[in-house]
């Protein structure tokens, strides 16, 4: 399953870039290049060989981490990636932490006060949370927190090694902008699973034993309701990675998304191709891990087998 998906992802990524109009060698050397030079470059780039063979070479190199040279930076792609990956990964992790740290208590709050007006309004707010484009949310956060209150920088990134607190400050607003749609999704989803669980027989049993409401909520209902939430975490991480492509550009964070867009701008398509492949494989990998996690957390799934 995992292997087939990864294989297909790589084939799709490879083939999409094959239909590219124009010759990559020509793009590098320019329109009025010397035909001998062109032929030589085509040979070093492997453009004279059949598509299937080129795919095999490309994928073999991608697996061993030999990603070739970037056309624009004239540096090995692997080195460039090593600089960029930590930024995107910190952004995604911080955003996921915010999503869960805010979404879970909020969902519990809404479910406990189901039907009362603050909970109804909060539910309505979650609709707004998924409707706002994350980059526009980022603008609004900049306006409120950076311009008005001067709490966070408006753009830029400070590496963790230099100043951990500064790094956290520079990543906070972008993570929050990315987290808000996720918070809305978790809140709404958890509310529904909590309400479903609270109608179960085991809750009635717990009540008839005379357990306190708070104990029932946190020790019994919440534990069961959180299990299905794990399944949407994979979805949220996927969305976060997609969203970070745009949000990194709002805050000029030197991550993978920022690199992707600059590379498209400079027509550095080998780099674009590699980035797309790696981001997609990252998504497949994360979803696989989430599936495994789900099996570990919910003992019933293991028993069913």
């Amino acid at each position: 399953m995992l292997a087939t998906t990864v294989l297909l992802v790589s084939v799709i990524t490879f083939l999409v870039f094959q239909v590219l109009p124009g010759d990559p060698a020509q793009i590098i050397l320019g329109v009025d290049a010397d035909p001998h030079q062109l032929a030589a470059l085509r040979q070093t780039m492997g453009l004279d060989r059949p598509v299937a063979e080129r795919y095999m070479t490309w994928i073999k190199n991608a697996v061993v981490g030999d990603l070739g040279q970037s056309l624009r930076y004239q540096r090995p792609v692997a080195d460039i990636l090593a600089e960029r990956v930590p930024v995107t990964v910190s952004l995604a992790l911080l955003s996921l932490t915010l999503t869960l740290a805010i979404g879970v208590p909020l969902g519990t709050l809404v479910a406990r006060n189901d039907g009362k007006w603050p909970a109804v309004w909060l539910s309505a707010l979650t609709q707004l949370g998924v409707a706002m484009p994350s980059f526009w949310l980022a603008f609004i956060l900049i306006l409120v927190f950076s311009v008005t209150f001067r709490l966070f920088p408006t753009y830029g990134y400070i590496p963790w090694g230099e100043d951990p607190l500064g790094a956290l400050r520079s990543l906070f607003l972008p993570s929050l902008a990315l987290a808000i749609p996720g918070i809305a999704v978790v809140t709404r989803y958890l509310r529904n699973t909590l309400l479903d669980q609270s109608r179960m027989d085991y809750v009635r049993t717990a009540r008839s034993k005379g357990l306190r409401e708070k104990g029932i909520m946190y020790r019994h209902i919440l534990r069961n309701a959180l299990i299905p939430v794990v399944t949407i975490i994979g979805l949220i991480i996927t969305d976060t990675l997609g969203g970070s492509i745009v949000v990194e550009n709002v805050f000029a964070l030197p991550g993978l998304g920022n690199l992707l867009i600059t590379s498209i701008g400079t027509r550095d398509l080998p780099l674009v191709q590699t980035l797309v492949l790696y981001i997609a494989i990252l998504v497949v990998g994360i979803n696989f891990v989430v599936d495994l996690l789900y099996k570990v957390i919910d003992p019933r799934i293991r028993l069913k087998r």
Binding site: T4, T5, L8, V9, I12, T13, V16, F17, V19, L20, Q127, L128, V130, A131, M132, P133, F135, W136, F139, I140, I142, L143, V147, T238, D239, L241, G242, G243, I245, V246, N249, V250, L260, I261, I264, G265, L269, V272, V276, I279, A280, I281, V283, V284, N287
Partner: protein, 272 residues
């Protein structure tokens, strides 16, 4: 059809109203805008909202309200066309996978899984980076991007309905596969497909805004809210209304179609 029953669903009413308002806003823009959307006025650069320019002006002194009106046409055009592409392809793919099943289903679903490994906008970015930006390519990219989710919905519908007695009866009467798919099963799937189309519409509008913000989507002179937002970003401090108003209209459209979709789903879930 019981109108009162429909009016009791809050998401449906609010979403429907938002969509109707935006539709009127867009249609009005076809015939009338307060100013010519591209008319520059250097004496009125970054003017705040006032009587002559209700929503202020941008860095070239162009009327923001008129430009947002014109942008609505692009948003609707992109939403409708990309959903049409996604829905049509998704229906054919979903029908083949769901109705015929077997190894074909297996192959198609593996492929759909792989396509969904590209997080939302990444697939569109990849396609646009190869085909080049512009209105038509953006529509094509967003249409292709939405095929997997439409295919899944269509497939599950066909799997569910092909076991029904009315389908078995048609087979017994000698009806062909495509006749059953189109004449007998498809009419039963209208509600879930409308819901999917509505949610797909808002997804496309959001993705277009992102693409155009990055400079990969709609190009000038075609108007686009996403590009307006990227033009507004440098003036976020001097002209916050530019960023805020453009985004509010964009959010209103996404919200409207999301609520509309949710509302319709609630109603047919309760009935079914």
């Amino acid at each position: 059809m019981n109108v009162n029953y429909w009016l009791r669903s809050k998401p449906l009413v609010i979403g429907g109203l938002l969509v109707i308002l935006l539709l009127l806003f867009m249609l009005t823009g076809l015939f009338y805008t307060p100013y010519e959307p591209n008319e520059m006025n250097t004496a009125m650069r970054l003017a705040p909202p006032q009587a002559s320019h209700l929503w202020g002006t941008d860095n070239f002194g162009r009327d923001i309200f008129s430009r947002i009106m014109e942008g609505a046409q692009t948003a609707f055009l992109i939403g409708v066309s990309s959903v049409s592409i996604g829905l049509t392809c998704g229906l054919v793919i979903g029908a083949v996978a769901g109705y015929f099943g077997g190894w074909l289903d297996e192959v198609i679903m593996r492929f759909i899984d792989a396509m969904q490994a590209f997080p939302g906008i990444l697939l569109a970015i990849m396609l646009v980076s190869v085909f080049g930006p512009g209105l038509n390519n953006t529509i094509l990219a967003l249409g292709l991007m939405s095929i997997p989710s439409f295919s899944r919905i269509a497939r599950s519908g066909f799997i569910q309905y092909k076991e029904f007695d009315f389908v078995k009866a048609s087979i017994a009467k000698g009806a062909g596969a495509w006749r059953i798919i189109i004449r007998h099963i498809l009419p039963n799937m209208v509600s879930p497909l409308i819901v999917a189309a509505s949610l797909g519409f808002s997804g496309s509008v959001l993705a277009e805004a992102g693409l155009s913000y990055l400079g990969l989507g709609v190009q000038p002179p075609d108007p686009s809210w996403g590009r307006m937002l990227s033009e507004a970003q440098p003036f976020i401090i001097n002209a916050p209304w530019y960023v805020i108003l453009t985004g509010v209209v964009l959010t209103a459209m996404v919200l409207g179609f999301n609520l509309l979709g949710d509302g319709i789903r609630d109603i047919y879930n309760k009935k079914g």
